[in-house]
């Protein structure tokens, strides 16, 4: 097998490994290309809490300045706050220095429009064309700009959250909450947010120093300490954010992790009960959301993987809610982006208004088991595998080729696709039980190997 590549350039931006592929020289060329794509103007620059953020950010500054843009430093900033800021400010766009849930040694850039949205597919193509042409219009010394800084980058986001949420109902309950910020950017806003909701809070990993106490993906095997603390403190709920605070996983009052698929399911259940409307999710998201949408008689639209694909459809469909099964809840009333704070707020609000515990709310969600697995593989290897499987299943089963290959069997589904952010092939399966889901993944892996 070929060596696993440590650089990934896609619709999700640039991601690479510091000390390897992600050099200052590479970063600055991307910043020059993005500055050229935007024309002139202010460009917000934010970062998650990773230790390499300063190195990368300075390379971004230099690239932006050289093509006549004015960098505006938003400091360490949760990604949803950064997106709201990009929309509310007069900036021409933004660059977020983040590698989301990738391990500590990774970092990357996400490119953001003045609307506070990630560049979509065609915008990314145009921007990458500029990058690949590699000829940037440099500006002369007399037109060079200074670097500015934003005073309180999370302010606009917090205001939106508190406007949209039923703050009064939540405050009355004085919930006991344990929150694990994973030493990420979420820690910058989380205390102020939960304070505003009158929660009694216990903090884990709340120093935003980027030294992740556990793998920054909010999945059950990474949050053992959170579960124990929730149980020990007899808290009402536990929350864990990922490193850039766009995704959330929930632990119930007994200290049991719900699994990140349930974050969106709970939010959709609650939002549709108050504001029925279209729901948008990606191909890999749980069947449970479809079942809930059916109960409320609202349309359900599935999109390709990649946050911007879901977001664009959310906007187009004027959806009530959308999201991804990885714990990414999109409530357009706050901002069309994945937002762990919105997810926390909706969870607390549904508990408050229904007067129910997390485990009680969870019982109303149709039960499915999802298994997420991966095998190493380049996009080219993935392509070969996909062709083989498609040939095999196209005639006998219900398949979707919108993104990779999804095969809907009668009582379970499998989805296989190349990752947008790493050189791996993701394999997902969902069934009525853990055993069936595992069996489905194993079967597929055998077929790939064979």
């Amino acid at each position: 097998m070929r060596q696993r590549l440590s650089l990934k350039i896609s619709v999700s931006g640039v991601r690479g490994v510091v000390g390897d592929s992600l050099t200052p020289q590479l970063i600055t060329r991307f910043a020059q290309a993005f500055g050229s794509y935007l024309g002139r103007g202010k460009v917000l620059v934010g970062q998650d809490a990773r230790a390499s953020g300063v190195m990368i950010k300075n390379a971004v500054y230099s690239g932006l300045l050289s093509v006549g843009c004015q960098p505006v430093d938003a400091g360490i900033c949760p990604i949803p706050s950064f997106l709201v800021l990009a929309k509310e400010s007069n900036a021409a766009g933004g660059i977020a220095v983040t590698a989301s849930h990738n391990p500590e040694n990774w970092n990357g850039l996400k490119f953001i429009s003045s609307e506070g949205l990630y560049l979509n597919f065609s915008q990314t193509q145009e921007f990458l064309d500029i990058y690949h042409q590699g000829e940037f219009t440099l500006i002369n010394a007399d037109k060079q700009k200074r670097i500015l800084a934003v005073n309180k980058p999370t302010r606009a986001h917090l205001k939106k959250l508190l406007d949209v949420l039923d703050v009064r109902s939540i405050r009355k309950k004085k919930f006991k909450v344990v929150t694990d910020c994973c030493n990420g950017a979420g820690a910058v806003l989380c205390p102020e947010f939960l304070d505003a909701l009158a929660c009694e809070t216990t903090w884990l990993n709340a120093i935003p120093d980027g030294i992740f106490a556990h793998h920054p993906e909010p999945i059950p095997e990474n949050i053992f300490r959170l579960c124990r603390t929730v149980e020990g403190n007899q808290a009402d709920v536990g929350f864990v954010q990922d490193a850039d605070a766009d995704r959330l996983a929930i632990v119930d009052e007994s200290g049991k992790p719900l699994g990140e698929e349930l974050t969106l399911a709970l939010a959709v259940q609650y939002v549709l009960s108050r504001n029925p409307g279209p729901v948008v999710i990606n191909l890999s998201t749980s069947q449970a959301i479809e079942d809930i949408a059916r109960v409320y008689g609202v349309p359900l639209i599935r999109t390709k993987i990649g946050e911007i694909n879901v977001v664009e459809e959310v906007i187009h469909q004027k959806a009530s809610i959308g999201g991804e099964g990885n714990g990414g809840v999109i409530l357009p009333a706050v901002h069309p982006c994945r937002d762990s704070f919105t997810a926390m707020g909706l969870t607390l609000e549904s508990m408050a208004r229904a007067g129910k515990t997390i485990s009680q709310l969870r019982k109303k969600i149709p039960y499915y088991c999802m298994v997420k697995d991966q095998i190493p593989g380049s996009p080219e290897e993935a392509y070969k595998i996909l062709r083989k499987l498609k040939k095999k299943y196209a005639k006998t089963e219900d398949i979707t080729t919108l993104d990779g290959l999804k095969i809907n069997f009668s009582d379970f589904w499998v989805h296989i696709r190349p990752s947008n952010t790493e050189s791996i092939i993701r394999i997902l399966a969902e069934a009525k039980s853990q055993k069936e889901a595992n069996r489905a993944v194993d079967r597929l892996k055998k077929e790939i190997a064979g």
Binding site: V17, V18, G19, D20, T23, P24, Q25, I27, T28, R29, Q32, R50, A51, S52, V54, M55, I56, K57, N58, A59, Y61, S62, G63, L65, S66, E104, N105, N107, L138, I139, N140, A141, D142, K143, Q144, R146, I147
Partner: protein, 448 residues
């Protein structure tokens, strides 16, 4: 023609043209690789392009595992002094010194606080050309610290080195034109420490240069016009990294930058006799002054790196060049405009003399300078051709061509910082100096 100069101690180019973030990063990465993950200081002047170069440099140094202490706007001599004081392993100064506002430059400074010498520079250039830079993983990345409080550390030490008590007693009034460059605002601290009243000219650290940041009589009219009205004792012009100064006397005479070195030497060599290092293009005044004090003059190639290197190797007490730069070994081996101003004030205070009186003690020479645009690829062959102009004279070829006569000399060389050929001639007779420059100029112009 692309304007980019790569020398042993740095790179210099035009922003918006040759001096791109990528190039700056490659050189900074090479320097970081050369230093092998150590503590590096960073300072810049006020040029508008400063932040662009600085952020590129910061990013590259961090990526090689170097810790960076960013001193913000910090003149080169202070940066060089602090390298040793703070036990850093090197520094990068971001300033194009006397070049106009379109230019900027990186100068690489070693752990001794001096410009890289030719061996060190060569090693760094080898790393640059090889292009294999050290890359460290996230856990080993350098840390960035911003500090502005170290300026005081420098000035406290400068105060100790000078006879500050005597300077303070005299309570001088000085006019300083900082050209809105690296010295702007910092000259206030300088004057406060020496108990001088400052009459500031172009003292905004804005980076908008009201004239070229080259301390020369032609830019001194602003200082000269107010020096008498304000009854100031002295006037000074600074370049943008405060490595060079020129002087205006109390009666408004704008002195050539050639005077800075002999004026200081005439006082300092008496205090501390020893060898003086200068370059081939510097006025003979320094030779007359040194001879008078029984001191040697040693000639080196033009530029801070070779002259300072020679001072260290030959154990000289001071070094300086006709561009208005002076270094005192005992303080720090670097060209330092603050130190130069300080010594001149000390001299005035101790000897109770006015600048005009000191100048009158110096021998009179006439210096004529010319620079001719010349593409770097042609420059060296042109210099070789010029030998034909002086068939009967003995020529010195250590740095371009230098020809000596009894009454004076001519020196023709390729600029280290611009695509120019510089012609400079000095004589007791103004006519002879001009005649020699004219002859060489027309010869070079034909060849270009």
């Amino acid at each position: 023609m692309k304007l980019l100069k790569i020398g042993i101690s740095g790179i210099r180019g035009i922003v918006g043209d040759t001096l791109t973030p990528g190039l700056i990063m490659d050189f900074s990465s090479a320097f970081g690789t050369y230093l092998n993950s150590q503590k590096v200081l960073l300072g810049r002047d006020t040029r508008l392009s400063g932040p662009m170069l600085q952020s590129a440099t910061v990013s590259a140094l961090l990526s090689t595992g170097c810790d960076v202490i960013d001193l913000g706007v910090c003149p080169a001599p202070i940066l060089q002094y602090l390298v040793k004081r703070l036990k850093a392993k090197g520094a990068i100064s971001i300033s194009a010194g006397h070049n106009d506002a379109n230019w900027n430059a990186l100068t690489f400074i070693n752990r001794e606080g001096t410009y890289l010498n030719s061996y060190q520079g060569e090693e760094m250039l080898d790393i640059y050309h090889l292009g294999r830079f050290k890359k460290v993983s996230t856990a080993s990345l350098g840390a960035l610290v911003s500090r502005t409080d170290y300026l005081d550390t420098y000035f406290q030490d400068l105060v100790k080195f000078l006879d500050t008590e005597t300077i303070k007693k005299t309570a001088f009034k000085v006019v300083i034109d900082a050209c809105n460059g690296g010295g702007a605002g910092i000259v206030d601290i300088f004057c406060r420490h020496l108990g001088c009243e400052l009459i500031p000219v172009n003292n905004e650290p804005s980076g908008y240069f009201p004239h070229e940041p080259e301390p020369r009589p032609r830019y001194a009219s602003e200082v000269a016009s107010i020096i008498k009205i304000t009854t100031a004792n002295a006037g000074f012009l600074l370049n943008s990294d405060v490595s060079r100064i020129s002087i205006v006397s109390e009666d408004g005479e704008t002195l050539s930058e050639e005077y800075t070195l002999p004026l200081i030497a005439s006082y300092y060599l008496r205090k501390k006799p020893g060898a003086v290092i200068t370059n081939l293009s510097t006025s003979r005044m320094i030779e007359d002054v040194a001879t008078y004090q029984d001191c040697r003059v040693i000639k080196a190639k033009v530029g801070q790196s070779p002259c300072i290197q020679e001072m260290i190797e030959e154990d000289g007490v001071m070094a300086g060049e006709g561009s208005g730069s002076v270094a005192i070994r005992q303080f720090h081996p670097a060209y330092d405009g603050f130190l130069a101003m300080g010594i001149i004030l000390e001299m005035m205070a101790v000897e109770k003399l006015k600048i005009s009186a000191i100048v009158h003690q110096l021998p009179k020479y006439h210096i004529k300078k010319e620079k001719i645009y010349c593409p770097p690829v042609k420059a060296h062959s042109i210099i070789n051709e010029i030998r034909k102009l002086y068939p009967s004279q003995k020529v010195n070829l250590s740095d371009g061509i230098k020809v000596d006569w009894k009454d004076g000399w001519i020196h023709i060389r390729v600029s280290a910082t611009e695509p120019m050929i510089r012609i400079i001639s000095e004589s007791r007779s103004e006519d002879k100096a001009q005649e020699r420059v004219d002859k060489a100029t027309s010869f070079v112009t034909q060849l270009v």
